[in-house]
């Protein structure tokens, strides 16, 4: 079981794996599938999420769209962190997209994937202290106000 690290007001769970540039997290499940969602940093940057359009099935190559997430000030994709088949979509997000804000690593998960090329692609995923450090750097480098607020919270 990992720990939860705070960067500013944002939480990073060290037992998860991350593609920091895509603000995406991955959980390796016991049944061999991967659960994927957006990070707490991403939901802070986006603000209250209004719609989540989730793909319900199909094969996705790494980088292809798994879902489209829309807030009042931002719209963007959740990109596939690895290639795989969508085996389950979180249909609760259709009725309650705010789950992404309230519980980004829990009830706000987006899809479950059966990975196709995990051996080749998992190297890009960061976990533990490396993920925390990469996210800390990412936040520092961001020039958007939302990110600055996140970084500012660290000292506050």
């Amino acid at each position: 079981m990992g720990e939860t690290v705070k960067i500013g007001r944002c939480l990073i769970q060290t037992d998860l794996h991350y593609l920091v540039d895509d603000h995406c997290w991955v959980r390796f499940n016991d049944d061999g599938t991967l659960t994927v969602g957006i990070t707490d940093v991403a939901q802070h940057m986006a603000g209250p999420v209004l719609h989540v359009y989730v793909r319900k099935k199909g094969l996705r190559q790494k980088g292809q769209n798994l879902a489209t997430i829309e807030s009042g000030k931002w719209v963007g994709p959740l990109k596939a962190p690895v290639s795989g088949e969508i085996v389950e979509a979180n249909e609760a997000l259709e009725k309650d997209p705010g789950l992404v804000n309230r519980s980004p690593y829990g009830e706000g998960w987006v899809v479950r994937l059966k990975a196709l090329k995990l051996e080749q692609e998992r190297e890009a995923l960061l976990t533990g202290a490396a993920a925390v450090e990469a996210y800390r750097r990412k936040i520092e480098q961001q020039s958007l106000k939302a990110c600055a607020e996140v970084a500012a919270c660290e000292s506050g």
Binding site: Q64, T68, K145
Partner: protein, 127 residues
């Protein structure tokens, strides 16, 4: 039944520019939504829409005074998402624009090309 949006071609035509800031944001937002859904998106700036692509203009347009996001931020984000930005050659003359003072990454095209683009698109959105 919902259609699979992936691979569909979307053409967004923007005819509003710096003189009407409130009309500049939404077309780019729609374009980014389409790109996020793995669609191929072109934004075509013509008539007054051309003015926002003159270097230095978009950075002056801030839509929300509480935010640091300017129109330039939106245009840069659009490019990052793979959205193609195209401008009408004939409209550029209205604003004393040349290749030299054009926003980076924007391709200049003529009227015939836009007609061709529109014919080949699954969706054309006019603003």
């Amino acid at each position: 039944m919902k259609q699979d949006p992936e691979g569909k071609k979307v053409l967004v035509i923007q005819t509003h520019g710096v003189e009407t800031p409130r009309r500049t944001y939404s077309p780019l937002f729609y374009a980014m939504a389409a790109a996020a859904m793995d669609m191929e998106v072109v934004v075509w700036f013509t008539m007054d829409g051309t003015s926002q692509l003159k270097k230095g203009e978009a950075e002056k347009i801030k839509l929300d005074p509480r935010s640091d996001v300017t129109l330039q931020t939106m245009l840069e984000r659009a490019k990052e998402e793979g959205i193609k930005l195209r401008v009408c050659q004939q409209s550029m003359t209205l604003f004393d624009m040349t290749e030299e003072n054009l926003f980076d990454g924007v391709e200049i095209m003529g009227a015939a090309t836009i007609i061709e683009l529109a014919l080949g698109s699954d969706l054309v959105m006019n603003f």
